[in-house]
Each structure stands twice: as structure tokens, then as C-alpha cells.
């Protein structure tokens, strides 16, 4: 099997070279600056990462560096694997540590500092580590989504803000993810902390519990199992914690073309997640890894981000039409300071579990 795979990759590489030579002889014959031979680097990602093949090929074409992707579970699982293998890392670059887990990664000294020149195009508020051990690559907003038809059927207006959901009129309508096991679940808990304060969120969740809030283990279970707005879903809850980009996804992956998304976003309920990339300490290809980080901030990659990962770019590039038309771009999302989250995350989750589940 290995030999088959090797033969295949050799063939693939050869055909790429041939294809590339046809386009532009001069560029592909440029030797790799580091070793004078082709370099291959590995990027650890979470399972939600994706990128167009031709975008990755463009990077290889420009630099001679091939990139191997290594999906390693969800964001938490990937980070913990990186911490366990510190000093003998599985890859050279890690993509996808988010703002809620950032402090754990920084405390463990996982990354080498690198200030990419491409950062000058990125909004400063997204640069959370002044030492540049991590570089912001994309942002996503975790927001309440609602099933337009389902709410209309129940004779309800979409909620205007977080506080509305404590209203008995919304009893039995909300499904959230468990913050102990799900990253959107944690983001939503943080949104309520940001809104109601460190001493006020507990009462809000008590009210939600009285309102029969349903808790699912993860996003898949909540969205496809309990939310009534997902196509073919057995669910009966018209409001779910999902992403600002979920309605565009419903349109893009609809079976028949849709004029209007079947779901909507409550813009005043969004919590911002920022995803970072970092160069793993222990890499033997630091320079190539730096080139990859630069590339992650290039327009080529950034334009590719929305339709592959359903998150938003961090530099100013044109968004796909579906995102402009059906997606929400909340102007003032919630975002807590990284060290506040770090100091309280586990205690809040424990307290939340006590209030909502026990």
C-alpha cells in the first residue's frame, strides 16, 4: 500500500511539475531557498479546516514547498495533541487554535515568534499576542440561528437579544451545545458572561433552564438532531447556537436553488472567535513555515476561506455573493479578554454544569 501511495504521489508530483512547467518555466525551476531541494512541511489542523486544492498548489508553485495537512480532531483535541508532543512535534505549523484556548497554547510555549509582514493589512484588534507567537488567520461568529418557518408556525418573532430567551414565550425553543465538550457551546456561554456580567450570567441560565433549554453534546447533534431548521432534521427546536455563516451554507448546499435562506441569524447575540496559526517549536523548517504563515494571510488564501471553512477572512477581500446576501456580519460582537477567559474558563464551565445540567 505504501508503495502504491508513493507511486501515486510521485506521479501526482510529476504531473504537477509538468503542468506548472507548461505555464511558466522560470518560476518552477527556482530552487528552494533553504536546501536547494524541494521542502515538504506539515500543517496540523482541526477537522473543520479545508482549503481549495488549487490554492495550496499555488503556494507550492510559488515557493517549491509542498504542504501536508494533518487533521487532528476538534480544536481542543488538536491543541492537546500538540502539547503532548511538545519538543517532538508532528508538524511545522499549527492552524486553528482559537481565542478561547489561546492562553493554554501560549503558557505551554508551543510556538516560535514570527511577525509576518502581511500583518499590516490585518485589523490590530485581532492580534492578541503582542509577541507574535500566533498570527490571526480568520474570524468566525457564534450566533443564535433561527428557523424562519418554525418560528412563524409557533407565532413567534425572532428574539432580539440574549435576554429575550429567558421570556416564557420562548420556552422549549432553544437548543445549545454543552460548553464542556463543544467550542460553539463555550463561545455562547462566554457571550452570556459578556452580556450579563461575571455575577449575572448564572441567573440568566437558571431562567433558561426554567424555559426548558435543551443541551446537546456538540454542534452536529444540536444542528442536525434538535434544530428544526436543518434540512431533513428530526428536530423540533426553532432556535440553535450556530454560526453567522450557517445561513449562507444552507443556501450553498441546498438541493434546489434558494432565493432566501431558510434560517436567520440574531445579530445581537454573536461571540467572536478568532483562529490563529503558529509555528511549532521544534520544527526543522522554520523558514518554510514562515512562508506558509505569510501565505495564510495572502489574498489567495483569504479569499478561499469563506467557502471552505465558513468563516471570515481577516484582510479586506471580496466575499462570496451568498455571504453578502444571506450571511450576517455583526458589527459589535462580544469578545472577552483572553486572560479573563483563561483564568475562569474551567470554573465557569463547572458552574454552568451545576446550574443547567444537575
Amino acid at each position: 500500500m505504501t508503495s502504491t501511495r508513493r507511486t501515486l504521489s510521485a506521479l501526482l508530483a510529476a504531473s504537477l511539475v509538468v503542468a506548472a512547467c507548461g505555464d511558466d518555466d522560470a518560476e518552477t525551476t527556482t530552487p528552494d531557498p533553504e536546501h536547494g531541494a524541494a521542502t515538504s512541511i506539515t500543517m496540523l489542523t482541526h477537522d473543520s479546516f479545508d482549503v481549495s486544492e488549487e490554492v495550496l498548489a499555488a503556494f507550492t508553485e510559488a515557493t517549491g514547498i509542498t504542504v501536508e495537512l494533518l487533521p487532528s480532531g476538534d480544536a481542543g483535541s488538536m491543541l492537546n495533541q500538540a502539547i503532548l508532543t511538545k519538543g517532538s512535534p508532528q508538524g511545522d505549523v499549527l492552524f486553528g487554535v482559537d481565542s478561547t484556548f489561546l492562553s493554554r497554547a501560549l503558557d505551554e510555549d508551543l510556538f516560535l515568534a514570527y511577525e509576518s509582514p502581511a500583518l499590516e493589512d490585518v485589523d490590530e484588534s485581532l492580534v492578541l499576542d503582542p509577541e507574535h507567537r500566533v498570527t490571526p488567520i480568520d474570524t468566525g461568529d457564534v450566533c443564535l440561528n433561527y428557523d424562519k418557518a418554525g418560528l412563524a408556525e409557533a407565532g413567534l418573532e425572532p428574539p432580539a437579544d440574549l435576554a429575550d430567551l429567558a421570556d416564557p414565550a420562548y420556552a422549549g425553543t432553544l437548543v445549545v451545545e454543552n460548553p464542556a465538550t463543544s467550542s460553539p457551546g463555550l463561545a455562547y456561554l462566554l457571550a452570556t458572561v459578556a452580556e450579563f456580567g461575571e455575577d449575572g450570567w448564572q441567573d440568566h441560565w437558571r431562567a433558561l433552564r426554567a424555559n426548558d433549554v435543551e443541551v446537546a453534546a456538540g454542534w452536529e447533534e444540536a444542528y442536525y438532531g434538535s434544530f428544526s431548521g436543518a434540512a431533513g432534521s428530526p428536530g423540533d427546536r426553532p432556535i440553535v447556537v450556530s454560526y453567522a455563516s450557517s445561513p449562507p451554507a444552507e443556501v450553498i448546499f441546498a438541493e434546489e436553488p434558494l432565493d432566501e435562506a431558510p434560517t436567520g441569524v440574531v445579530e445581537g447575540t454573536c461571540y467572536r472567535q478568532i483562529e490563529f496559526a503558529g509555528i511549532l517549536a521544534g520544527t526543522e523548517h522554520e523558514e518554510a513555515a514562515q512562508q506558509l504563515v505569510d501565505f495564510l494571510l495572502s489574498p489567495t488564501f483569504q479569499e478561499d476561506v469563506p467557502l471552505n471553512m465558513f468563516v471570515y477572512p481577516v484582510i479586506d477581500v471580496e466575499l462570496p455573493a451568498e455571504f453578502v446576501e444571506h450571511g450576517a456580519q455583526p458589527q459589535d460582537p462580544y469578545l472577552l479578554e483572553a486572560d479573563v477567559v483563561a483564568a475562569n474558563r474551567d470554573a465557569w464551565i463547572e458552574e454552568w454544569t451545576e446550574i443547567v445540567l444537575r
Binding site: 479546516f49 447533534e221 445540567l357
Partner: protein, 557 residues
């Protein structure tokens, strides 16, 4: 048992050589990674932190998780045995059209990934499903989602085949003449069953029950999807502590606790096996008969209950794959054939199918070689050593995939064993899971090779290797093919271990299903359902072949 006389005649060196490969293989791909991760959790600054053990074990949250894990496993096991006993009778006694199809269908849930069946189960148990509809007719408001009942029902669904096939095979070995004699002497059907049949089935029942207990005690996906956040087994806790909190200290103690429970279940299994004695596989067909009289009702009732328990969730899944927005159609299947989205990780589903087939072949071959050698070694061992070695091979079934997966990362990271990114890691991890099933199929077949045949061959002057080739190899061909097929089916559906080590360039079908389900959109769900149906059909086809070439023992314990 009947082994010691053999070991006296065959050189110890042969036994040792046969064990060398399985020991090395399971050492590298199972024991060392697990031990490394557990010791990482329990060592603090170079010293063992044994205080952690007492501390974690006595904490109220551990006690409540352990208590739930235990009682749901006991109830699930009892429910599975009761539900599947009629099917065992059907398999062991009755000839009816569609028999082999039913046997293949029964085992499909066992080898399907839980993420797939979990969503189908949600649909069955949800407010729009048949259970709620039935409740509505009877005037009850039933919503079983996120309850322990849902978990137990799903456990019955998943493990039905273990009991049906294991006990069914034993039932086939019960001589109908003894039952007939009892009937002739005036015993009624019930008395005959209780006094003649049941005692002979008891070892198989106990064996199957301990295996179902082992599977349900360590249940992960089912509990996560169907049980909701208020319910957690030890396995779910280990996963959460390791992947989310990186609390290896608590996770290690829980791993040890689970291991202790699994060893206890295996000890029970071993005792049941010891009493199984020298029951031989009989020529199957001869004991089967066409149902007559009241038996027809029994057959009808059994097939109906099997169809309800196992068929409804599967049918729901298949139906959803055809249920497109424009009415029933092949839309989702056509979408599978399209070239995907041209992205690096969302491979065209056809390619995922090819990956699964290639990886499955590698995993099944590895499992057959390693498991086959283990079976040869076990066959030559005698007494207690045999029992202990036999059940140690099943330990991988009782250890959390996350423990093994994370263990790989820190144990196999130095040359010459830097296997972390080797493409061989996936088939190897799947083989570890399939090996116990291979051994369970081959060992009884090896034991059943009549010693007289060997002696005769030797007396006629055949050298030992010739005896082995002419006698053992000939008689083992069918069980070996059966074991190979079953290992293949297991590998096709395997998800737990694969998810931690899947390479971006070779996602398997379960991984592709999982990816499709992780983004919103009707086409994504539809493709996931279509891909699940493809997986289901592949698995059923493999099992049909297995039953044709192998025997009913395959997939039994």
C-alpha cells in the same frame, strides 16, 4: 482441556515463535502506547503519584459516572440477551427463505459507525418518528431522546448480532436427538428447553453476555449522541478529560478503573469458555428444519421483532438517503459521483470508498496473519496460560480509542519507531480491533481439527510441515476466509481509532460521512445518508460472502 497432550509433542519453540508476532504487534500498537499515556498521567516530577488514584476514585463525580456505567451495562446486556434469544433459536434450528440475508442484515449494525446509526436512531426516537407516533396513538407523549432508555435501546440494536450469532451457533451444536428423546418421554416444549437445551446453551450465553457487557460498559458514541449531556460513561469522561481539559491525571485513573472492569468481564468470559468444553461445530445444515405448526408463529414473531429492532433504524437511514426535496429519488447518490468541491480535504466520496477498500484490505490481511498466529499459539498452549493469553488479546476492545490514539503520539515518536505519521498506522490500529474476532473464529476451528487425522498422517510418514499443510490448512481454509471477511467489514466501519490518526490524503468512508455532517446544508446531510447507505450495502455484501464461505461462528464469541 485437550491441549496439553499436544504441547507435549510439539516443540515449545514453535509455540513461542507463533506468539512472537502477535506479542510484538500488540505491544507496539497497543500496550506500549496505552501504558505510556497512563504513566504520563500518573507521574509527577519523575515519581508515581498514587495519591491520585484514591483521590479520583473516591470523588462523588467518579462514583456517579461509574455507577451509571455499571447499571446501564447490566441492563443493556440483559435486554440484549432476552431480545436476541429467539433469533438465536431461528439461526440454530430453522430453515427458511432469506435465512442468510437475515443473518447478514443482523450484523450490519455491529460494524456500522455509531455516528451514522446514532443520527438514524435520533430520527426514530424523535418527535416525528415512529416511536412518538405509536405513543400518540396510545395517548402518551413519548420523547426518548437524551434518555438512558434511548442508550439501552441502541445498545440492544448494536449487539443483537453478538448474542444471536454466538448462541445460534451453539444451538446448532445441540443434538436435536436429545430434545426429541425428551419430547418422546412426555416433556412439553418448555420443559424440554429448560432441562435439555438451555444447559447446553449456558456457556455460549454467558460468553456472549460478557462480551456484550464489555461493549456496553465501554460505550462511547451511542452515549454521546443519544444520551445527551446529563449522561456519561467512564469512556465518555476519559475522552472529555483528555481531549478538552488535558487532565491526564484523572483520565489515567479512570482508564485503570475501566481496565479493571474489563478484565473482570473477561475473566467471567473465560470461565464460561472453560465450561464450553469440547463442543464441536456440527455440520450445520442437518439440524435445520422447516418450521411446522406453532413454530411458524414463533418464526413470524421473531422475524417481526428483529425487523422492528434492527430494521427500523436501518430503514430510516436508507429512506433518508432517497428522500430528496423533489420527492424520492437518486439526487444524493448523483451528488456522490460529482467531483467534490476541489478542496484539499473534502475528497470525492468515490475516493473515500476506494480508500476504505484499500485500507480495509490491508487491515484485514494484517489481522488475519497476526490473529492467525495468535490462534496457532493459543491452540498449542494449555490450561490457565491459554485462558489468560486468550482474554488478553481482547483487552484492546475495552480500552478507549482516545487513550490509544494519544498514546501513539507520545510513545511512537522516536526512530526507529516514529510511526505517528506513517500511512500504515490506520490499518494497524484497525487490525488491533479486528484481531480478537479473527482469533475467536480460528481458535475453535483449530481445536476442532481431529487429532486422529494428524496422527494418521504422521503414521504414514508425513513430516510435521506436511501434516500441517495437508490436514490443518485444508480444514482451516473456510474459517480463515470467514475471519478475513469479518475483519474487512469491521475495518470498513471503524471510526473511533481512525479519527485520531486519519491522514488528510486518505479519509475513509466513516471519516467522509463525519466531515459531510459537520457543515450545514441539505446536500451535506443527504450525501452523508447516501454514503452511509453505500457503507451499509458494502458491509452487508461482505457479510453475505462471509456467511457463504465461512460458518455461523464468524462474528460470534
Amino acid at each position: 482441556m485437550n491441549a496439553p497432550d499436544r504441547s507435549a509433542r510439539t516443540p515449545r519453540a514453535v509455540t513461542a515463535a507463533a506468539f512472537a508476532v502477535p506479542v510484538a504487534f500488540l505491544g507496539v500498537f497497543f500496550a506500549v502506547p496505552v501504558a505510556t499515556l497512563i504513566s504520563t498521567g500518573l507521574r509527577e516530577g519523575g515519581r508515581w503519584d498514587l495519591g491520585a488514584v484514591g483521590e479520583v476514585l473516591t470523588s462523588p463525580s467518579t462514583r456517579s459516572v461509574a455507577w451509571f456505567t455499571l447499571w446501564q451495562a447490566v441492563v443493556s446486556t440483559a435486554a440484549t440477551v432476552v431480545a436476541a434469544l429467539p433469533a438465536a433459536w431461528l439461526i440454530g434450528r430453522i430453515r427458511f427463505p432469506g435465512r442468510s440475508l437475515l443473518m447478514a442484515a443482523l450484523i450490519v449494525p455491529f460494524v456500522l459507525p455509531t455516528v451514522v446509526v446514532g443520527t438514524a436512531f435520533l430520527a426514530v426516537l424523535g418527535p416525528d418518528g415512529p416511536v412518538a407516533a405509536l405513543g400518540g396513538v396510545l395517548g402518551f407523549d413519548v420523547d426518548l431522546r437524551r434518555t438512558a432508555t434511548a442508550v439501552i435501546l441502541a445498545h440492544v440494536f448494536f449487539n443483537y448480532a453478538v448474542v444471536a450469532r454466538t448462541v445460534g451457533a451453539a444451538w446448532m451444536a445441540v443434538d436435536p436427538a436429545a430434545e426429541d428423546a425428551a419430547r418422546t418421554l412426555g416433556a412439553d416444549r418448555w420443559t424440554t428447553f429448560r432441562t435439555v437445551t438451555l444447559p447446553q446453551l449456558r456457556p455460549a450465553l454467558a460468553g456472549a453476555a460478557s462480551i456484550v457487557f464489555l461493549f456496553t460498559f465501554t460505550s462511547f458514541g451511542v452515549v454521546k449522541i443519544l444520551g445527551g449531556p446529563r449522561i456519561a460513561t467512564i469512556e465518555v469522561e476519559i475522552h472529555r478529560l483528555t481531549t478538552q481539559l488535558l487532565d491526564l491525571r484523572t483520565a489515567s485513573v479512570l482508564s485503570l478503573l475501566q481496565l479493571a472492569a474489563v478484565i473482570a468481564a473477561l475473566a467471567l468470559y473465560r470461565r464460561a469458555g472453560a465450561r464450553r468444553g469440547s463442543a464441536r461445530t456440527r455440520a450445520g445444515r442437518s439440524v435445520l428444519h422447516r418450521p411446522a405448526g406453532a413454530e411458524r408463529w414463533g418464526v413470524a414473531a421473531t422475524i417481526t421483532s428483529a425487523a422492528l429492532l434492527v430494521g427500523v433504524p436501518i430503514a430510516t437511514l436508507v429512506w433518508r438517503s432517497f428522500d430528496t426535496a423533489g420527492g424520492p429519488g437518486l439526487g444524493y447518490y448523483r451528488a456522490l459521483g460529482s467531483t467534490g468541491r476541489g478542496s484539499a480535504l473534502f475528497v470525492p466520496p468515490a475516493e473515500a470508498v476506494r480508500n476504505s477498500l484499500v485500507i480495509g484490505a490491508a487491515a484485514a490481511t494484517t489481522a488475519l496473519i497476526v490473529g492467525g498466529l495468535a490462534a496457532v499459539g493459543l491452540h498449542r498452549l494449555g490450561g490457565r496460560a491459554r485462558g489468560v493469553a486468550d482474554s488478553s488479546l481482547m483487552l484492546p476492545l475495552g480500552v478507549s480509542a482516545v487513550t490509544v490514539g494519544f498514546g501513539f503520539l507520545i510513545a511512537l515518536d522516536e526512530p526507529p519507531l516514529d510511526l505517528r505519521t506513517s500511512p500504515l498506522l490506520i490499518p494497524a490500529a484497525q487490525a488491533v480491533i479486528a484481531i480478537p474476532f479473527v482469533v475467536r473464529t480460528l481458535l475453535p476451528a483449530l481445536d476442532a481439527v481431529p487429532a486422529r487425522l494428524r496422527e494418521a498422517a504422521a503414521a504414514l510418514g508425513a513430516p510435521p510441515h506436511r501434516v500441517w499443510w495437508e490436514v490443518d490448512a485444508r480444514l482451516l481454509r473456510r474459517p480463515a476466509l470467514g475471519a478475513l471477511g469479518f475483519a474487512y467489514a469491521i475495518s470498513l466501519g471503524e471510526f473511533g481509532a481512525t479519527v485520531f490518526i486519519a491522514r488528510a490524503d486518505a479519509p475513509t468512508v466513516p471519516v467522509a460521512i463525519f466531515r459531510a455532517l459537520s457543515q450545514p446544508g441539505a446536500l451535506n446531510v443527504g450525501q452523508a445518508m447516501a454514503l452511509s447507505t453505500v457503507l451499509l450495502a458494502l458491509t452487508a455484501a461482505v457479510m453475505l460472502l462471509v456467511d457463504r464461505v465461512g460458518d455461523a461462528r464468524v462474528g460470534g464469541f
